[in-house]
C-alpha cells in the first residue's frame, strides 16, 4: 500500500509542484497518472524513489515513511521499486545482459541466480538474441524493453514507469504497455505516468488526473480527460 498524505512540494524557486495531494494506491493495482507538463507527475515519482523530499505531508510505503529513510537505507528501499523512464537510462558501457545483471548484483544476488534469472526476463521482453549487444546498438523500443527487464528482474513490489512511451512509435508503445500489463497481472503494482491518450483509453484501469499539483480527478476505470 502506497499513501501520499497531503503532500505539498514547493521548489526553492517558488514553483508549486504538488499541492496537498492525497493518493492511496492498493497492492497489485495498475494506476495511471495523467496531467499536463508541470502538473506534478514527475515530482510524485521522485518522492516515491526518495529522490525528493516533500515540503509538507508524508509518503508511505506500507509502514515506512519513505522520506524519513536514513541515507544508507535508501539504496535498499530502491531495490524494491523497479523504474522505467522515458530516456531509458541504461548503462552505456554494459551489454544488455550486464545491464540487467547489474541490478541483481547491487542487490547482492548470487551468480547462479543471475545466470538463471537474466535469460528468463530477457525472454519475457523478447530480447534474448540481443543479450550481448550494447545499448547504442538497440532501437528505442528495444532499449525500453531492456529497461523494463532490468526493472522487473529483482521481482520488485512496485514498478514505476515515468512516461515510458514518450520516445516510442505506436507499435513499440503498444508493446511496452502490453508488457506492463502482463507484469501487473503477475501481481506487481504498476504506476504509470503518461501523456498518451491512446494508452490510457486502451488500458481501462484507474486514472488519477493532476492539475497544478492538485488531484482533480480519480476514476477507477478512467479515460484520458483533461
Amino acid at each position: 500500500m502506497i499513501i501520499f498524505e497531503k503532500v505539498t512540494k514547493i521548489y526553492p524557486d517558488g514553483t508549486v509542484a504538488l499541492d496537498e495531494a492525497t493518493i492511496k494506491i492498493e497492492p497489485k493495482e495498475f494506476v495511471s497518472v495523467v496531467g499536463h507538463s508541470g502538473a506534478g507527475k514527475t515530482t510524485l515519482v521522485k518522492m516515491l524513489l526518495a529522490e525528493e523530499k516533500p515540503t509538507s505531508g508524508r509518503v508511505f510505503y506500507e509502514s515506512v515513511d519513505i522520506n524519513r529513510l536514513r541515507h544508507v537505507d535508501i539504496p535498499k528501499f530502491r531495490r524494491k521499486v523497479g523504474t522505467v523512464f522515458q530516456d531509458f537510462r541504461l548503462l552505456p558501457n554494459k551489454t544488455v545482459y550486464e545491464n540487467i545483471a547489474f541490478a541483481m548484483e547491487v542487490s547482492g544476488r548470487s551468480e547462479e541466480e543471475i545466470k538463471a534469472d537474466v535469460p528468463h526476463v530477457l525472454e519475457l521482453v523478447d530480447l534474448f538474441n540481443k543479450a550481448m549487444n550494447f545499448p547504442h546498438e538497440l532501437s528505442g523500443g528495444e532499449k525500453q524493453r531492456v529497461a523494463i527487464a532490468r526493472a522487473i528482474v529483482n521481482q520488485p513490489d512496485i514498478i514505476i514507469a515515468d512516461e515510458p512511451t514518450g520516445n516510442l512509435d505506436p507499435i513499440n508503445t503498444n508493446e511496452v504497455v502490453r508488457i506492463l500489463k502482463k507484469i501487473n497481472d503477475l501481481g506487481t503494482t504498476v504506476i504509470l505516468t503518461t501523456h498518451n491518450k491512446g494508452v490510457i483509453d486502451s488500458l481501462g484501469k484507474r486514472v488519477i488526473t493532476l492539475e497544478k499539483g492538485k488531484v482533480i480527478r480519480d476514476d477507477p476505470t478512467g479515460k484520458y480527460v483533461i
Binding site: 524513489l49 544508507v72 539504496p75 535498499k76 528501499f77 530502491r78 531495490r79 523504474t83 537510462r89 541504461l90 548503462l91 552505456p92 558501457n93 547489474f102 541490478a103 548484483e105 547491487v106 542487490s107 547482492g108 548470487s110 551468480e111 532490468r150
Partner: protein, 310 residues
C-alpha cells in the same frame, strides 16, 4: 557476501577501464607523464648527488710541513686533525713519497731532475691532504691549522707547518660550496613544483573522465546500488590506470637508462645511470606503483564522491 561484492567491484572496474577506451587512454597518458616526472626527479637527484660528491671529492686542503718536522710530529697532527668532527679523511704523504711523486710528474723534464739530483737532501717536506665532510667546513679546519695550538708545534716549540694552501683555494672552495647549496635548493623546489603541477593535472583529468560518467552514476543510484558499490569500480579503474602507467614508466626508464649509459656514458663523467637505476630499482618501483595507485584511486574516489552527495 564481502568477497562477492569485492569480486564484482574489481570486475566492473577493470571492465569499464577497458571499455572506456579513449577516456582511459587519456588518463593513462597524463598519469604516465606525471610518474615520468616523479621518476625523473628521482634519477636527476641521483645524478646531482653524484655530481656534488664528485666536486666535494675534488675540494681539499693540503698542509705542507717544514722539512725538519719528524714523521712522528706529522702523524701527531694527522691524529688531532682526524679527531675534528668536520674532517672526513686525512691522507699522509711522506717527504719520500712527495719526492717520488715529483719525479714521476716531471719524468720528461731532464733539467728539473738534474737540478734535483744536485741537491744533497730531499727539499720536499711531508704533507697532509685533508677532506672535510662538507665544503663549508674547510674554513674551520684552516683556522685550526693556522692557530698556535700545541699540537702544531715541534718539541722545540717551533712551528712545523710550512704552509696551508687554503687561502689560495679559499675563493674556489666557498664558491663551490655556495653553488652546490643553491643547486640543491633550486633542484628540490623545482622537483616539488613539477610534482605538484602534474598531480593537479592527473586529478583534473580523472575528474573530467568521471564527470562524463555522471549520468551513469545517477542510474546506478536509481537501480539501488549502494555508495560503495558505485564508488568501487571507479576507484579500481583509477588504480588500474596507475598500475599501467607505472609499468610503462618503469619499463621505459629501464630501457632508456641502459642505452644512455651504453652509448652516452662518457658524457656522464663516470655516473653509471643504468647501475644507479637498477641499484634503486625496487625503491623506484615502490614509489611509482605506490604513487600511481594512490593518485588514481584517490582522484577517482574524490571525483565520484562529488556526484554521490545527494
Amino acid at each position: 557476501m564481502f568477497w562477492l561484492s569485492a569480486k564484482r567491484v574489481w570486475r566492473g572496474g577493470i571492465q569499464s577501464f577497458f571499455r572506456n577506451g579513449f577516456v582511459s587512454l587519456s588518463s593513462v597518458i597524463i598519469m604516465t607523464i606525471t610518474l615520468f616526472i616523479i621518476s625523473s626527479v628521482f634519477i636527476l637527484n641521483g645524478l646531482l648527488d653524484f655530481g656534488v660528491s664528485q666536486v666535494k671529492e675534488k675540494v681539499d686542503i693540503s698542509v705542507y710541513f717544514v722539512t725538519t718536522a719528524s714523521e712522528e710530529e706529522v702523524l701527531d697532527v694527522k691524529m688531532s686533525l682526524e679527531a675534528l668532527p668536520e674532517v672526513s679523511k686525512v691522507d699522509y704523504i711522506s717527504s719520500d713519497q712527495a719526492l717520488a711523486d715529483f719525479k714521476e710528474k716531471n719524468k720528461g723534464d731532464e733539467l728539473t731532475l738534474q737540478a734535483l739530483a744536485q741537491l744533497d737532501e730531499n727539499p720536499l717536506g711531508a704533507s697532509l691532504n685533508i677532506k672535510a665532510k662538507d665544503p663549508s667546513q674547510y674554513e674551520g679546519i684552516a683556522d685550526f691549522l693556522n692557530s698556535d695550538s700545541n699540537e702544531l708545534l715541534s718539541a722545540s716549540s717551533t712551528k712545523i707547518i710550512d704552509s696551508v694552501n687554503y687561502s689560495k683555494n679559499k675563493l674556489i672552495i666557498t664558491r663551490a660550496s655556495r653553488i652546490l647549496d643553491s643547486i640543491n635548493t633550486v633542484g628540490l623546489a623545482l622537483a616539488i613544483l613539477f610534482i605538484v603541477i602534474s598531480v593537479v593535472i592527473v586529478f583534473n583529468t580523472i575528474r573530467l573522465s568521471i564527470y562524463m560518467s555522471r549520468d551513469e552514476i545517477s542510474v546506478m543510484h536509481l537501480v539501488g546500488a549502494s555508495t560503495k558499490f558505485i564508488k568501487g569500480p571507479f576507484v579500481v579503474s583509477g588504480m588500474v590506470c596507475g598500475i599501467i602507467s607505472a609499468f610503462l614508466v618503469v619499463t621505459f626508464f629501464a630501457i632508456s637508462t641502459y642505452f644512455v649509459t651504453k652509448y652516452y656514458g662518457n658524457y656522464l663523467v663516470g655516473f653509471d645511470l643504468f647501475k644507479y637505476y637498477m641499484g634503486n630499482f625496487f625503491q623506484i618501483l615502490g614509489v611509482l606503483f605506490g604513487s600511481g595507485i594512490l593518485l588514481g584511486g584517490l582522484a577517482s574516489y574524490l571525483a565520484v564522491h562529488k556526484y554521490l552527495k545527494n
